[in-house]
């Protein structure tokens, strides 16, 4: 998880939702169809769509991977350290195991840990962040300090010393450890946003109407945090995937379950580098990069969905010209890619 300051900055940005777009707006004069209420606005963002497609592909592999794997990933054969061929798409290991099958079977472990950790950490983050932001006062101070402490303590070493001392480390255990150590970033961003929502008119109105605190939080505040929660979740999944793979790579939690990190661990310990067996470690790394990229793209999509000002940043020079937008310093063109019509 690369820590992305834009989320925090956007939090400040969101505090002024009524702020009119900057001058210099050149509305894209593309042929928009008006009148029809658009659903799935989010899916009109090309980055988000690309990210979702890649993520969907890996989810599919996670489900069907073990069935479509051509070989048993642990089965040895006589084809030792073979480069990629038609029989073995990604080559074989020092024991003649099929790397392609290892990657296919290992996808499930990666995805499961990533999502379990993501869901747990997001849940903790929402509870801590929203509570802190809403109650304010001493409770807020305490919870913020707690979140900041977890933010500053280096996470990977912490995960390593916890997971390294557990007697048995399975996938779910790793996910829980990652969630316990990785919730703080989401909590911090959510707290900042709740803090600004708390004093808005509609929340004040709800309070004046005598709505219960619980209802204000779930019905008035949480819906307004959806985008931040979603992007926090996506970021945590990316972080969890990286952590899991790193742990497996240094040899923690390799209890017979295949994942991409285990493949890399074996490649490293069996001197794949020195033997020139690039096919052993390149595919796993590319898969990690692809998965991470898809998550980052989804997050960009969410950011641009929330903050129209960032939308133009995704366009390259040529498409900007094509749409009649002249990039000028000091002005941010707001690109209307999708317009919501209010019924």
């Amino acid at each position: 998880m690369t820590i992305d300051t834009s989320i925090v900055e956007e939090g400040q940005e969101l505090e002024k939702p009524s702020q009119a777009p900057m001058t210099g707006v050149v509305a894209a004069a593309e042929g928009r169809r008006r009148g029809k209420p658009r659903k799935f606005l989010f899916l009109r963002n090309s980055k988000a769509v690309a990210g979702m497609v890649i993520l969907g592909f890996f989810l599919l592999i996670a489900i069907i991977g073990p069935w479509i794997a051509p070989y048993d990933p642990s089965a040895r054969s006589d084809d030792i350290l073979q480069p990629p061929s038609w029989e073995h798409w990604f080559g074989t290991t020092h024991l003649g195991q099929d790397v392609f099958s290892q990657i296919l079977v290992g996808t499930r472990g990666v995805i499961v840990v990533g999502f379990v950790a993501g869901i747990l950490a997001t849940a903790i983050g929402v509870i801590v962040g929203v509570t802190a932001g809403y109650i304010g006062g001493l409770g807020d101070e305490t919870l913020s300090v707690l979140a900041n402490v977890f933010l500053v303590i280096p996470q990977l070493p912490l995960i390593i010393i916890i997971a390294g001392q557990l007697p048995t480390v399975g996938g779910v255990t790793v996910a829980v450890v990652i969630a316990i150590t990785g919730w703080a970033w989401g909590a911090r961003v959510l707290r900042a946003q709740t803090l600004s929502l708390r004093r808005r008119d509609f929340v004040e109105a709800a309070r004046a109407n005598g709505e219960r605190t619980w209802r204000i939080i779930t019905a008035e505040i949480l819906p307004n945090l959806t985008a931040i929660i979603a992007s926090g979740f996506v970021g945590t999944v990316a972080f969890a995937v990286l952590s899991l793979i790193t742990l497996s790579f240094i040899g923690i939690g390799n209890t017979g379950e295949w994942n991409w990190g285990t493949v890399l661990y074996q490649a490293q310990s069996q001197l794949a580098l020195q033997r020139g067996a690039w096919w052993w470690f390149v595919p796993a790394g590319l898969c990690i990069a692809l998965l991470g990229m898809s998550l980052t793209l989804i997050n960009f999509g969410i950011d641009e969905f929330v903050n129209p000002r960032l939308r133009s940043t995704g366009l390259n020079a040529r498409s900007l010209r094509k749409r009649g937008i002249r990039p000028r310093i000091g002005f941010t063109p707001v690109v209307r890619e999708a317009e919501e019509t209010r019924a």
Partner: protein, 325 residues
């Protein structure tokens, strides 16, 4: 001044929290691996050292948790971190031997990466909507790749295939460590590839962060006014925009430091670079709990210290923080 005192107070709390976590982890873990290891290393560890280990890991059943906690702090404040099983030496000595390597490598590489990344980021943010934006997908890719995998690729390309740099180690083993030019140049030669890997893998975060801030800042009124006044492009870029856009960079530098350190620790493993990360790896493999915990504490303290420095710089750069306190 109040600002700094507040931050200092926060770091003290964080330090206390880290020590307390360290205290409780072995105590809530199921099983009793440490006493088994002490028994196994009976001859090699002195009775005194074994006693310290008992305190550090809470093996004295007939002592209250509070007494254990007090004694634990007492040991820590005297710099006693226990005895490493794998190296049969005090943990503090093992760490002291490793830490200069890590600080040298990670510190220099991180500073290079931060400076370069911020410069490139402000350039890209300024020239938004030109070819420079095509650098973004590339940096997205690099930010998604684990550091250690990039290290593997770097070794396979530059060491194994091209043979430009050594694949492992931190200096030529035939040399005796000294302050001679020969030794130092060997350290630089061995450190180039690891440092390059750290820079390449961490720079994308700085580029993205700075670019996004530049996009926001360059649409502020004072930048427009500066442009209208006719100040040169260069002054508007560095004197008006980048100056303000760099503030969140500094604060995110502090926050992401833990993440970068984590990544570089694993990278050291790949390069067998004799820093903290490499020792952490051997400690994990040998189930050397005292060394693991000692390393965690030292890393945390180092990160806290770097945070204090970043906060200080932030306070100097942005007078508002000092006022708000």
């Amino acid at each position: 001044m109040r600002f700094f005192l507040r931050r200092l107070g926060f770091y003290l709390i964080t330090f206390w929290a880290a020590v307390t976590i360290n205290f409780f982890i072995p105590r809530i873990m199921p099983g009793d691996p440490v006493s088994a290891l002490i028994a196994k290393n009976q001859g090699r560890i002195s009775p005194d050292a074994a006693e310290a280990l008992r305190t550090l890991f809470g093996l004295d059943e007939n002592m209250s948790l509070w007494d254990q906690y007090v004694q634990y702090w007492n040991l820590l404040l005297h710099g006693e971190l226990g005895t490493s099983f794998a190296y049969s030496a005090p943990v503090a000595d093992v760490i002291a031997g490793a830490i200069p390597w890590t600080i040298g490598l990670v510190g220099i590489a991180t500073i290079i990466s931060f400076t370069l990344g911020t410069l490139i980021g402000s350039g890209i943010g300024w020239r938004r909507g030109t070819w420079a934006d095509s650098l973004l997908p590339i940096s997205t890719f690099f930010s998604a790749v684990p550091y250690f995998w990039l290290a593997l690729i770097a070794i396979s390309v530059f060491s194994v295939t091209l043979g430009w740099f050594p694949a492992s180690g931190s200096y030529d083993r035939s040399l005796v460590p000294s302050f001679s030019w020969e030794f130092i140049s060997s350290v630089i030669y061995y450190g180039t590839l690891p440092a390059l890997t750290i820079v390449i893998s961490s720079i994308s975060g700085w580029i993205l962060g700075m670019r996004n801030m530049m996009v926001t800042v360059s649409s502020e009124d004072y930048v427009t006014v500066a442009q209208a006044k006719g100040v040169s492009e260069r002054t508007a870029l560095f004197g008006y925009s980048a100056r303000n856009a760099i503030l969140p960079q500094v604060s995110s530098f502090a926050l992401s430091l833990g993440f970068i350190v984590g990544g570089t620790l694993v990278m050291e493993i790949v390069f067998s670079y004799q820093g903290i990360g490499y020792y952490l790896f051997t400690a994990v493999a040998a189930k050397d709990y005292p060394l693991m915990q000692g390393i965690f504490l030292v890393i945390t303290v180092a990160v806290l210290f770097a945070n204090i420095v970043a906060d200080f710089i932030y306070g100097v750069l942005d007078p508002r923080t000092r006022q708000e306190g």
